[in-house]
């Protein structure tokens, strides 16, 4: 896949300055996303996936702060835009869908109101236009009887439907990049499948780029074009879907896959737990749980090593042990 790069994140660092210390939630990560691509960010809880997504939209709240890095969209560094300009990016060029559809909608406004609000935030159009566009959007994401349900309140919708509404809001201005933060995790298996289908359909239809955040490797294998594996705020491995899943290099990626039952019905867990981010282990952040850890792993942070053009890994054993 060699279409143009649409959004590029470079050396992003987002820290939280808490009373207990600095939480290095996102610690120097870089990746790109191309037009029409689905990029999956995988990682365990607390690995910094959500913070990464929020950083892209500059929605990290205090005590969090983007320390350094660049987020380049259309040659603009988003981190340097004025707050006003940034507002115009949000929802318009980059939209986001959050994990929990139950809390992502304001309970006291109607569905229609909230969708049309997303439209009128960026397009100057009158109320009727906005509302008819909103109805269309609702139909698009598969809400039956969209017209009638326009005036319903969120609590009258099921979880799956709410998530569709949230997606409709995100699509309001046909953004170029859609960030979806675990959009299906809170939903039932059958509904989850519906939502995944919807995403695939949307991508096909609008040529959007989608950053899909998940910790479910099953989902990843189904939809990802490329994959970023995060662990404790850092990228362990990134690359094309086939490369990463078919030829995982980083011990962590391998470990993650081992946690799923193999054909023989065996799972091999990764020992230990994810480290605290305030005083993270020196060197490679994964070394305490790594069975192959070398001395150097305890001292130095491994650089991103290229394995193929599309496949990078941050490990001193890069490729060696593969």
């Amino acid at each position: 896949m060699t279409s143009e790069i649409i959004l590029s994140i470079e050396n992003l660092k987002t820290y939280f300055f808490t009373k207990k210390g600095i939480v290095r939630a996102v610690d120097n990560i870089s990746f790109d996303i191309r037009k029409g691509e689905i990029l999956c960010i995988v990682g365990e809880s607390g690995s910094g996936k959500t913070v990464t997504a929020l950083s892209i939209l500059r929605l990290v709240e205090s005590p969090g702060k983007i320390i350094e890095g660049k987020i380049i969209l259309d040659e603009d560094n988003l981190l340097e835009l004025s707050p006003h300009k940034m507002q115009d990016v949000r929802g318009n060029k980059i939209a986001m869908v959050f994990q929990d559809p139950h809390s992502a909608l304001n309970p006291i406004f109607t569905i229609g109101d909230q969708v049309s609000e997303a439209i009128s935030a960026h397009k100057s159009c009158n109320k009727e236009d906005a509302s008819s566009q909103a109805t269309q959007l609702l139909e698009l994401v598969g809400i039956p009887l969209a017209k009638e349900r326009y005036h319903d309140y969120p609590h009258q919708f099921s979880g799956g439907m709410k998530q569709r509404v949230v997606i409709a809001m995100a699509l309001a201005c046909h953004p170029r990049v859609l960030i979806a933060d675990e959009p299906a995790t809170a939903l039932d298996l059958t509904v989850q499948a519906q939502i995944l289908d919807l995403f695939l359909e949307l991508r096909a239809r609008f040529e959007m780029s989608i950053i899909y955040i998940t910790h479910d490797l099953g989902v990843v294998s189904e939809i990802a074009d490329s994959i970023v594996v995060m662990y404790a705020g850092r990228i362990m491995e990134k690359g094309g879907s086939r490369d990463v899943l078919g030829n995982p290099v980083h011990p962590y990626t391998k470990g993650l896959m081992g946690c799923l039952p193999s054909e023989k019905g065996i799972i091999i867990p990764i020992p230990g737990t994810i480290p605290g981010l305030i005083n993270p282990p020196a060197g490679c952040i994964f070394h305490p749980r790594c069975v192959n850890a070398l001395d150097i792993c305890r001292m130095e942070r491994p650089p991103m090593t290229k394995i193929t053009d599309e496949h990078y890994v941050s490990c001193f054993l890069g490729g060696v042990n593969g």
Binding site: L59, F98, A104, N106, I108, F109, A121, Y153, H155, A170
Partner: protein, 320 residues
């Protein structure tokens, strides 16, 4: 909100009101006091104390068996008769008719002021969370909550009336109710009553705002690209308002029978609070009962209003 729900709420309110009425009725009668007390003090030689006591107690009907008095009281209540106030020699209903306005103007002005200032303060501090302005405002809110209002009233009198002479040291009932001079006369009492309310509402609105600012839907709204002012005004404030409305409603009765009482006492405003205080001190049962009952009804009314307001403001309940 359906009718039967309303009917049930009213029934509930009635039961509570009955409970309050019964409790206060018996509370007052089991006490050692009697309306004849004040006569005892003036009895001279040759008077048969018990005879006179009996005569006076029969004059006011308090010599009957308790249950009989109780049913009589309920009976006359049901007939719209609040009884006779023997400490002021007038029907309780007239007494209330004359005096409620003094309480009302005080409470009304203070509440309006407190709601406006309190909500503004809350929004202001929430929007500027953790800034210097917020810290200062927070400190003053704490001070406002903590300052005993009777003391505040006294200090205002000391400074502005006694030392500076800007105001009278008492509330002048001679002023026409709807006049600027009356408004001027109410300044100190309103400050006394409203300070705690402003501070309390301010804190409450602030924390309610902050709580809502952390909600996912606010983040969603920001992600939509809405300007911060719209996010705050529409998504945060409207949601923060819900508990605020409830609190203000529920607070009302507390204000009326707490702060307003004391404020009336300090400034000599002859409102219901002061009335009932005097009535307590002169064992004037029917006035105390009436004020208690009115208090209960006010509380229940505001509870109901809070519920209805909530239903109106929160679609999750409206469409149940």
């Amino acid at each position: 909100m359906d009718r039967s729900y309303l009917a049930k709420r009213l029934l509930h309110a009635l039961i509570i009101a009955w409970g309050v009425m019964t409790a206060s009725f018996f509370l007052m009668r089991i006490g050692p006091h009697s309306p004849a007390d004040k006569y005892l003090a003036t009895l001279g030689a040759g008077h048969n104390v018990s005879q006179v006591t009996a005569a006076i107690e029969s004059r006011y009907g308090v010599d009957r068996p308790l249950y009989e008095q109780y049913f009589n009281y309920i009976n006359s209540l049901l007939h719209g008769d609040w009884g006779w106030s023997f400490s002021t020699s007038m029907p309780v209903s007239d007494l209330i008719k004359i005096h409620w306005a003094y309480s009302f103007q005080l409470i009304f002005l203070s509440s309006i002021l407190a709601i406006i200032l309190g909500i503004s303060l809350g929004i202001f501090t929430a929007a500027r969370k953790n800034t210097k302005a917020d810290h200062i405002a927070t400190f003053f809110s704490f001070a406002g909550i903590s300052i005993p209002n009777f003391w505040l009233g006294m200090m205002l009198i000391l400074i502005f009336s006694v030392k500076l002479g800007w105001f009278k040291t008492y509330y002048d009932t001679g002023l026409p109710m709807f006049s600027l001079s009356n408004l001027y006369a109410l300044i100190l009492p309103v400050i006394t009553l409203a300070t705690g309310m402003v501070a309390g509402y301010g804190r409450f609105v602030r924390s309610s705002m902050l709580e809502n600012m952390n909600k996912d839907f606010v983040r969603t709204a920001r992600a939509k690209g809405l300007p911060e002012s719209v996010v705050l005004r529409k998504h945060v404030f409207r949601n923060a308002l819900l508990p605020v409305v409830t609190i203000i409603m529920l607070d009302m009765s507390g204000i009326i029978f707490g702060g307003a009482y004391i404020t009336e006492f300090i400034f000599g405003i002859p409102g219901l609070g002061w009335m009932s205080l005097k009535a307590v001190f002169s064992d004037d049962y029917s006035v105390v009962m009436a004020v208690t009952l009115i208090g209960a009804f006010v509380t229940l009314f505001f509870n109901l209003v809070a519920d209805i307001a909530y239903t109106y403001l929160d679609p999750r309940i409206r469409y149940e």
